[in-house]
Amino acid sequence: MNLLTQPVGPMHYLLVGAVLFVCGVICMTAKRNALGVLMGIELVLNGATLNFVAFGSRFLRGDSASSLGLDGQLMALFVIVLAAAEAAVALAIALNFYHTHATIDVDDASELKG
């Protein structure tokens, strides 16, 4: 599979998206810093966005009829905007947590333990 001579298709985007997604998941599971977890979420969201764009792109697929078209890009837009909102709230929560607990270790946030 010579990537340099072969046109790029949605599959390649999906692979990149998968890597980003998995990196994000690992980030979320492995990082103890709340902001690290937040960054993991951003990575996950980006992986997903990449898939949307890839499926929506006429650029990448010969059969443009079956592509998502603009819908994919619109979804990506919504994801980006929602990610911004999510980041704002999450950051506010993290800062609040920092103010009250004087730490940002998510493992310390276990007051809701069953």
């Binding site: 599971t29 998510v106 276990s110 809701l112 333990k113 069953g114």
Partner: protein, 813 residues
């Protein structure tokens, strides 16, 4: 803009203005100035503007429809009347009559349509409507202005000496100035709506609205038990009448399918007929005939029989159409018409306080005096008369006779009671009842114009009299005439304007030359009575005529008795006399205005045909101008054409007689109270039984109490006992049984159900305790679990795919 478009607009606006004022006062009344004074200005401005609009409408009407005189056409009276009537008709039909102007009818707005029933807000505008509008708004405006003075105490906190508060002293309460004007506005709106209404449904709605306003205003001092009782009485008595009216409405609606008065052009080329043209259709020369639908309705049994025998539907319809004239001649449907007429009249009896429902009006004097003037003299009670006038074309001769008799009885009874009443407002109230009786009487005898003419005149001078008496009450603080006397010097304006009112109501004037308004209208009524006596073949008419004439003398007597007792003689109560003073200008001015109208409203405009009577005559229902004779049920009925009464042979004796009787009444009153030649007490003692009889108002209240109220109470007592002893016991037993069952149920519940539920709950609790170990509270382990779950889900789905669905086809191309 043609008159057809202009008048509905003007009158509609004049009608809705008080509503706007009402709404404004309802919402913002208490905040309008100090004590709600602004509410008075708002209401007065609204009715003033309405008055201007109405007067413009009146002017427009007069310009658009000038009074023209034509030769009277040969009416049904000439054709049908046998006996004496014919002779008169031949000999006396010399005068000219006023040309009738087509009314303007239409709908403003359709509220709803249920099948063929259309509920609309419509209008029916003719000269009568316009004149009534002008009269109502004028009188109402005067009364609004007057109320500023009369009700000014309500601006501040009011001390009501007639009510005892909890602490034993007189009741103190916040003023209700704005509320008074709010009710006045609502009342004006209702009354104008009633006048302009284009159909019976609308009439009924406003009829009830007028009733409720009356209820509110009679009960204005609702802390006084007398006021609330009077309000209740008025309301309930009116319901009795309204029940009859509903019966009439249903009869009409059921038989005719419409409630509209006039023909309404619904679309170009499509005209829906109103009640009037159905009953008196142009094809029938406007003669009163039972409409086809009504005949069919009455002859339902025959119609069904035809339907059963006829081969096809069309045949049946043809047969029925052919038979309808036959049935009509047999009298089918005539009863229905009579019932409809009687029903409507029944409503009018209630509203216009006619015998036997007259008992509420005197009690209604508990309300503030401007209310008495506005509602119980000038307008609301006039609504009954107005409706009789409006609905005149539909009344059969039999109904007319009933109307005449009821009016006659009323006018006599009320006049006699007024002779001995001492409460100044009650005298006026009985006088009102009596005068309304005159109007009904005139209408019943075919004196359409005379009755309505008297209605307008009466509105002016009775409003004047009431406002004058209000002025007196305001000044003296008492209603009782025996405590007054000698007030002429103290309050000359009130005294002389009231004198004008007394003269007007008594029918004073120079016979055959000129007179006050009452002179003309009462003359016309009596002339009509005389005319009926001479035209009719029955002694009933003679009796009616004589009674009415006699009551004219009584009228003069009690009116001057009132005036003498109040204003002349020595002051009988010095405290009251010292206290008395002339009322403020804002109260006197309306008196003067009304006095002027009381004097001149009967005068014709020189050198023209213009006079109130002629204008009213423009609205005369088609087909009634020639009178009627002979009913289907009673053959000797007659209602002679009104223009016949203008003949000198009738007019002159009637006029002279009326004048003589009034003069007699006046002289007797003067003898009793003016110059004190005869001691009233002696006469009272001499005729003690009669006095007691009259003093107790013919024992009507007691009679009704014994006949209706007490039996009703007793029956309700019985029913209550049945309720207590039978139904309550039964229900109690059921409740006991329920208790037993529930005890059993309780046991079952505890033993079985609860235990099961407890077990389940324990199980859930244990499961929860086990599950809680998974909730570590660590964010990262949750994420981990989600990821593991996702992978697991993927694997499960793909395995499922591989092994279960693999044989049924592959995904992708």
């Amino acid at each position: 803009m043609t008159l057809d478009r202009l008048l509905p607009l003007l009158l509609g606006l004049a009608w809705l203005l008080p509503l706007a004022s009402f709404a404004a006062i309802v919402f913002f009344g208490p905040r309008m100035g100090k004590g709600g004074k602004g509410a008075g200005y708002v209401a007065t401005a609204a009715i003033g503007l309405a008055m201007v609009l109405s007067l413009v409408a009146l002017g427009g009407w007069l310009l658009g429809n000038p009074v023209t005189l034509i030769e009277p056409t040969a009416g049904p009276a000439e054709e049908h009347a046998e006996g004496p009537a014919e002779g008169h008709a031949e000999g006396l039909a010399a005068g000219k009559v006023v040309e009738i102007v087509r009314p303007i009818a239409g709908n403003w707005y359709t509220l709803a349509e249920f099948g063929s029933l259309r509920l609309t807000i419509g209008y029916y505008i003719d000269a009568l409507t316009v004149v009534m509008f002008a009269m109502v708004t004028l009188v109402a405006f005067c009364i609004h202005v007057y109320s500023f003075g009369y009700m000014h105490e309500e601006l501040d906190e009011v001390t009501d000496p007639m009510v005892t508060a909890d602490d034993g002293g007189p009741l103190r309460r916040p003023g209700r100035f704005h509320r008074f004007f709010q009710y006045l506005s609502l009342f004006c709106f209702s009354m104008l709506g009633l006048v302009v209404a284009g159909n019976l449904a609308m009439v009924f709605v406003f009829w009830e609205l007028v009733g409720i306003c009356s209820y509110f205003l009679i009960g204005f001092y609702h802390e006084r038990s007398t006021a609330t009782n009077a309000a209740n009485k008025a309301f309930i008595v009116n319901r009795v009448g309204d029940f009859g009216m509903l019966v009439g409405l249903m009869a009409l609606w059921g038989a005719l399918g419409t409630l509209a008065f006039g023909n309404v052009r619904e679309a170009p080329g499509r005209v829906s007929r109103g009640v009037f043209r159905l009953v008196r259709s142009a094809e029938n020369d406007y003669r009163l005939t039972v409409p086809d639908r009504m005949v069919r309705q009455a002859a339902r049994a025959e119609v069904e029989k035809i339907y059963r025998t006829a081969p096809t539907r069309r045949d049946a319809e043809e047969q029925i159409a052919g038979k309808i004239p036959e049935w009509r001649d047999e009298g089918y449907g005539y009863w229905l018409l009579v019932i409809a007429g009687l029903g409507i009249f029944c409503g009018c009896v209630g509203k216009s306080a006619q015998f036997p429902l007259h008992v509420w009006l005197p009690d209604a004097m508990e309300g503030p005096t401007p209310v008495s003037a506005l509602i119980h003299a000038a307008t609301m009670v006039a609504a009954g008369v107005y409706l009789v006038g409006r609905f005149y074309p539909v009344f059969t001769p039999e109904v007319l006779l009933v109307i005449a008799v009821v009016g006659c009885v009323t006018l006599f009874i009320a006049a006699t009671i007024a002779l001995v009443a001492t409460d100044i407002k009650r005298v006026l109230a009985y006088s009102t009842v009596s005068q309304l009786g005159y109007m009904m009487f005139a209408l019943g005898l075919g004196g359409w114009r005379a009755g309505l003419f008297h209605l307008v005149n009466h509105a002016f001078f009775k409003a004047l009299l009431f406002l004058g008496s209000g002025s007196v009450i305001h000044a003296t603080g008492t209603n009782e005439m025996p405590r007054m006397g000698g007030l002429l010097k103290k309050m000359p304006w009130t005294a002389y304007t009231m004198l004008a009112g007394c003269l007007a109501i008594s029918g004073a004037g120079v016979p055959l030359v000129i007179g006050l308004s009452g002179y003309y209208s009462k003359d016309a009524i009596l002339a009509q009575a005389l005319s009926a006596w001479r035209a009719g073949s029955s002694p009933v008419y003679a009796v009616l005529c004589v009674v009415a004439m006699g009551a004219a003398a009584l009228t003069a007597f009690y009116m001057f008795r009132l005036w003498y007792l109040t204003f002349l003689g020595r002051p009988r109560d010095h405290h009251v006399f010292e206290h008395a003073h002339e009322s403020p200008k804002v109260m006197v001015a309306p008196l003067v205005v009304l006095a002027v109208f009381s004097v001149i409203s009967g005068w014709p405009v020189l050198l023209t045909n213009l006079s109130l009577t002629n204008v009213l005559d423009q609205a005369r229902p088609k087909g009634t101008e020639a009178g009627s004779a002979g009913g289907v049920l009673i053959p000797w009925l007659t209602a002679p054409a009104e223009h016949l009464a203008e003949d000198h042979a009738i007019h002159v004796p009637a006029s002279l007689l009326a004048f003589a009787l009034a003069l007699a009444g006046f002289l007797v009153a003067t003898a009793f109270y003016g110059v004190r030649r005869i001691d009233p007490d002696r006469v009272r003692r001499a005729c003690a039984p009669v006095y007691r009889f009259l003093r107790n108002k013919w024992w009507f209240d007691e009679l009704y109490g014994a006949v209706f109220v007490r039996p009703a109470m007793r029956i309700s007592g019985w029913i209550a006992a049945v309720d207590r002893e039978g139904i309550d016991r039964f229900v109690d037993g059921l409740a006991g049984l329920c208790r037993r069952v529930s005890v059993l149920d309780d046991w079952i519940d505890r033993t079985f159900v609860d235990r099961t539920v407890d077990r389940i709950a324990q199980g859930v609790h244990a499961a929860g305790l086990w599950l809680r170990t998974f909730q570590t509270g660590r964010l990262r382990s949750y994420v981990l679990l989600v990821a593991v779950g996702t992978v697991g889900g993927f694997i499960i789905v793909s395995v499922y795919w591989q092994f279960v669905l693999a044989g049924h086809g592959r995904m992708g191309p």
